[in-house]
């Protein structure tokens, strides 16, 4: 009997081969979903910031991109989804940087304003002190004069 060039069940072998080829694709899809989910979580966190308005257009953009990415992943378009996720991740970084910048610029402005007010207060206190010192010196001189007069009168 001549040996068969192919196994008895060629269809099963082909199916197994296909599954083996598809397995990395499936793993890749999962990784993309995880990245998308992580980015989504970070973006949700950013949205709770007091300075979220500063990045409102970026938030709108990223929300659309997330929707696109989810649609592409669902359709198994991993390659395109990866491109969109790359953009999402970059935009998430951009949003984070905008919020950070807005936060520190606002705080710095506030603190500079407070420092300026305090500088003004200190200057005012200095002027008051100078005036009071002058008044005290004047009174001291007057009292000294009275004492000297009394001493001169032998009282």
């Amino acid at each position: 009997m001549t040996p068969r060039a192919f196994p008895r069940q060629p269809m099963s072998a082909l199916l197994a081969l296909a599954l083996l080829l598809l397995l990395p694709l499936s793993a890749h899809g999962n990784e993309l979903r995880q990245r998308l989910e992580a980015a989504n979580d970070r973006i949700a966190e950013h949205e709770r910031s007091d300075y979220a308005d500063e990045a409102s257009s970026e938030f709108s953009q990223v929300r659309m991109e997330i929707t696109d990415a989810q649609g592409l992943l669902a359709a198994g378009e991993s390659r395109q989804a990866q491109s969109v996720i790359l953009r999402i991740e970059a935009r998430e970084r951009l949003i984070a940087s905008i919020l950070e910048r807005a936060t520190f610029e606002d705080l710095a402005d506030q603190r500079e304003s407070a420092a300026n007010e305090m500088l003004h207060d200190a200057d005012t206190a200095q002027l008051e002190l100078e005036s009071a010192t002058q008044r005290r010196q004047q009174l001291q001189d007057e009292v000294q004069n009275i004492l000297e007069t009394l001493e001169g009168d032998g009282r």
């Binding site: 970059a90 940087s97 520190f104 610029e105 200190a122 007057e142």
Partner: protein, 398 residues
């Protein structure tokens, strides 16, 4: 960070441009890539603004690290974009450039955040410095204000003291003027009694009248508060009374001589002198016996330790029982005029009662109160005032 940029941005840009020119025939660069390329070659200002000293600040350092990290990511995507562009795969180049551009902007934002963080740190330090400065000034101001309050109080005290001193001097001056006027008037009154005792009414009528008028004027000026004028007029009155006394004295003495020739009168006077010494004298009315310090001040009560004086007078009254007796009451100048007058009358009445209770008949006795108007002693001394609380017993010759 400057070094990082120099190391990464400039060589890559140059390489890209060389590669592009060598290949030739490349399509136009995608907008995002051109923008990123332009930013990388020119925009380093915002990324380099942070004060190097502030890089030691951990918070600033962290933000700068984030900036560098994003810049490096931007570099990766820029390289990828250039690569795709060289291969004329424009959609891929466009995508990589967009991502690179976002990382670049993120890097720029973190650099600006670092700059703001440095400003915040500097402003905080400035705030602390100024608050310390203000608190220091305020503490010193508070201390100065306390001193001002204290010094102002001391000054006010001195001023009040000076005012009081001036007021006291004024009062002393007024008091001196008043005292001077009072005693000048009293002295004139004493001299008036002397003159009247020397019968000046009869022997120096004009002078006595003039002196009395002057005394009345002096009293009026005194009552009106013209103290200096009162003093001056009282001195004139005193002088006039003295002149009246001087004029009356020779005629009075000759009359006394005549009286003394009456052996009975002479015997009475000599007897009285032995008992009362200078407290006995002869005047126009007769023998006057002065009983000083007979009463407590402001009281009509006869002092119990002085009644012996009245008993000695009583001896004379019984021996010379044909002579009428006038009892005068007097006071010092420590009471008001009306009160002094009332007390002096009661004093005279009390002395009269003393004599009545010891058998002297009422018909021989008469009383009169002179208040403070006729002092025999100087009211300026305590002893003089004590002696003026007195009675005078007059054995009338006519």
């Amino acid at each position: 960070m400057n070094h990082t940029l120099n190391r990464t941005v400039l060589p890559l840009g140059l390489l890209a441009l060389l590669f592009a020119s060598a290949c030739g025939g490349l399509p136009p660069m995608p907008d995002n890539l051109a923008q990123l390329d332009s930013l990388r070659s020119s925009a380093t200002g915002a990324l380099l603004r942070v004060d190097p000293a502030e890089e030691e600040n951990l918070n600033v350092r962290e933000l700068l690290d984030l900036s560098v990290e994003n810049l490096q990511r931007s570099d990766v995507f820029y390289e990828r974009a250039m690569d795709e562009y060289q291969r004329k795969r424009m959609p891929e180049a466009e995508l990589a450039a967009r991502v690179g551009l976002m990382y670049f902007r993120a890097a720029e934002n973190y650099a600006r955040a670092a700059d703001a963080r440095a400003r915040l740190s500097s402003a905080s330090a400035q705030f602390q410095t100024q608050i310390q400065r203000r608190n220091d000034f305020n503490a010193r101001l508070s201390s100065e204000r306390e001193l001002i309050t204290l010094l102002a109080a001391v000054q006010a005290l001195f001023q009040r003291n000076e005012e009081l001193r001036r007021e006291l001097a004024t009062l002393e001056e007024a008091s001196r003027s008043e005292t001077r006027a009072v005693y000048a008037i009293q002295e004139a009154r004493i001299e008036q009694r002397t003159a009247e005792g020397l019968k000046a009414e009869e022997y120096a009528t004009d002078l006595l009248r003039e002196a009395r008028q002057l005394l009345t004027r002096a009293q009026t000026r005194f009552d009106d508060g013209n103290l200096d004028e009162a003093h001056e007029i009282a001195v004139q009155a005193l002088d006039a009374f003295r002149r009246a006394s001087e004029r009356a004295r020779p005629r009075f003495m000759s009359e006394q001589d005549r009286l003394m020739r009456d052996t009975r009168v002479r015997a009475l006077f000599e007897q009285a002198q032995q008992i009362f010494f200078e407290g006995a004298r002869i005047d126009a009315r007769g023998l006057v016996i002065t009983l000083p310090d007979l009463f407590e001040s402001r009281s009509a009560e006869i002092r119990s330790n002085r009644t012996y004086l009245l008993d000695q007078v009583l001896v004379l009254m019984r021996e010379y029982d044909n002579l009428s007796i006038l009892i005068e009451g007097h006071t010092d100048d420590r009471s008001r005029v009306e009160a002094a007058m009332a007390v002096s009358q009661t004093r005279a009445d009390n002395v009269q009662n003393y004599f009545l209770q010891r058998g002297i008949t009422q018909s021989r006795l008469n009383t009169a109160g002179f208040g403070r108007e006729s002092p025999a002693f100087d009211n300026r001394s305590a002893e003089g005032r004590r002696n003026n609380n007195r009675a005078e017993i007059i054995f009338l010759f006519e």
